[in-house]
């Protein structure tokens, strides 16, 4: 008899577990941990959304919905995207409701990538992109966004990474883990590279609502990219609905219909009760969302100012709810810094290298936690730095 391991598909056997896992295991064993390691809002979903979902259950809406999602929800998404981000999609055939934005990315890659195709991924980035590409047989090609550009990918860097096997570019702005928001002129530069080389773009805009400074431009709103872009987003971050697992993807009809084919065989549809909640979020959730956004902005200011005061150099990120300070001044690697900080002061952060090579020397701190907790975390980090 062979070992159980030897039966695994080669693809899966070769897949590396996420570097975040180790910190999770370590932090879970401790009490009194202040976690700046959480990639989701600290707010509970707005009450009207929860109530709407309750109500749908009471009324007996417990069956499947259309594969693409309830048409009422898709129409609301259509309106919302047009109003807030100036992108126009048709609810009938250009919008697909998914189980979180993660599934939307998975479907995008599976529908568009053949084995051997290269997908350029702007790093540091969300840990799932490269594995999703690999599982589809594609080849992830990381391009490092640099600290001196405040972690915004520059068009020249993209140009330099293109080969004749490049098929797609995967970009996330506002970015997890750096909080960087690409500027309009950078998006235009990126669009030119994409057009010149006949590429396509998967634009992860899950944090699009959470930008705090100058206006935000959706990559998909650039006319020249309209037919080349899949816009991925969802309800998790803006509406504090991570556990509901509800996202969506919008793009050219032929692509969305191809993704729908995979979706109908592998998922049927997104959760019905979550879709009812999402309808309420889009109809009446804006005020709650803006209140949360205001809190995030204040916390961002607090943590950026505090970390810089402590000598952990940190650019001021324009969006999401992460800051990405440098720990190079301590002489420690990201991993050593994060592990020592957790062991000694019970503050959990995520070492930057798990988000890509260029994240080495940095840590990700989430400020989706109360000011009181942030204040305590800063005090502990200060104590920690003084001992080093």
């Amino acid at each position: 008899m062979r070992t159980s391991l030897s039966y695994l598909s080669k693809k899966v056997a070769e897949l590396q577990p996420s570097g975040i896992r180790r910190f999770f295991d370590l932090a879970s064993t401790m009490e009194d941990v202040i976690s700046l390691g959480v990639g989701e809002p600290d707010f509970v979903t707005p009450w009207n959304v929860i109530e709407a979902s309750y109500h749908s259950l009471e009324k007996g809406y417990t069956a499947y919905t259309a594969n693409a999602g309830m048409i009422e929800l898709r129409r609301l998404i259509e309106e919302y995207l047009a109003e807030q981000f100036n992108v126009r999609y048709n609810a009938e055939d250009q919008i697909l409701v998914t189980v979180g934005a993660s599934q939307a990315i998975d479907l995008s890659i599976r529908a568009l990538i053949d084995p051997g195709d290269e997908v350029i991924i702007a790093e540091p980035c969300f840990v799932a992109y490269a594995p999703i590409v690999s599982l589809a047989g594609g080849i992830p090609v990381p391009v490092d966004a640099h600290a001196e550009n405040a972690f915004r990918l520059q068009p020249e860097q993209l140009e330099a990474a293109v080969t004749n096997r490049t098929k797609a570019v995967l970009i996330c702005s506002p970015n997890n883990p750096t909080g960087a928001v690409l500027r309009t002129e950078e998006l235009i530069g990126i669009a030119a590279v994409v057009e010149n080389h006949d590429l396509i773009v998967i634009s992860d805009e899950i944090y699009a609502e959470l930008t705090y400074d100058e206006g935000y431009t959706s990559l998909a709103s650039l006319e020249q990219l309209k037919e080349r872009t899949l816009l991925v987003s969802g309800f998790s971050k803006a509406f504090a609905m991570t556990g509901w697992r509800l996202g969506y993807v919008a793009g050219p009809s032929e692509w969305i219909q191809a993704m729908l084919k995979i979706h109908q065989y592998t998922m049927m549809c997104a959760s019905t009760m979550a879709q009812h909640g999402a309808i309420e979020a889009l109809k009446n959730g804006r005020e709650s969302m803006l209140a949360m956004k205001k809190s995030y902005k204040q916390r961002r200011n607090f943590i950026v100012n505090s970390l810089n005061d402590l000598g952990l150099e940190c650019h001021r990120p324009g969006g999401a709810f992460y800051v990405f300070p440098s720990v190079k001044s301590t002489g420690l690697t990201s991993e050593a810094f994060a592990e020592k900080l957790l062991q000694e002061e019970h503050v959990a952060v995520v070492p930057g290298h798990v988000f890509g090579k260029s994240g080495e020397g940095y840590i990700r701190c989430s400020y989706a936690t109360s000011l009181k907790q942030l204040d305590e975390a800063i005090k502990r980090i200060q104590r920690f730095l003084q001992r080093l």
């Binding site: 975040i20 999770f24 990639g39 916390r299 100012n305």
Partner: protein, 165 residues
């Protein structure tokens, strides 16, 4: 913009009157000097009337107090409308709040006392005997769930996993 900063400052202090100057400054991205000057100005123009704790008295074992809301119907007086009679009521130190209401009655009076008979005495001896008071209806508060936007006994455990991507 300047106005907005004052609003944000009040907003922070209303949620946490004990927030340090350092934290206020960092949060609003201004200097500590500016923060302290703005607070002073807000205090001077009575935009900040005072600082207090939100007490949950039921957590103090030997504290026994009762609060009642009293609906009061009154006859407004010529020249002063409801203001005169409202003042005669809100001057009593045991009165915690007085609002002029639309609807079935005129004034809503919130009053705190040590015992129910304390409050009974106030209503029968002081409130009802005022000339313009036509009638009163007294409701005792049995339990506080939420007060001034604050949930009492909240379930505020962090339900998230400690580290996630």
């Amino acid at each position: 913009m300047v106005e907005q900063l004052d609003i944000d400052l009040l907003d922070l202090l209303e949620k946490n009157g004990r927030m340090s100057l350092d934290m206020i400054a960092k949060t609003l991205d201004i200097s500590e000097d500016e923060a302290s000057q703005r607070i002073k100005k807000l205090e001077q123009k009575n935009a900040i009337l005072g600082y207090s704790a939100i007490a949950n008295w039921s957590k103090v074992l030997d504290y026994e107090g009762v609060t009642a809301m009293i609906d009061v119907k009154v006859t407004p007086t010529r020249g002063a409308g409801f203001d005169k009679i409202a003042e005669r009521i809100y001057r009593f130190p045991e009165v915690k709040a007085v609002y002029l209401m639309s609807g079935a009655y005129d004034l809503s009076v919130s009053i705190q006392g040590k015992t129910m008979s304390d409050i009974g005495r106030f209503v029968s001896e002081k409130l009802s005997t005022l000339e313009s008071v036509i009638s009163t209806t007294t409701h005792f508060i049995l339990k506080k769930y939420k007060h001034d936007g604050v949930i009492f006994d909240p379930d505020d455990d962090d339900k998230r996993i400690v580290v996630s991507p």
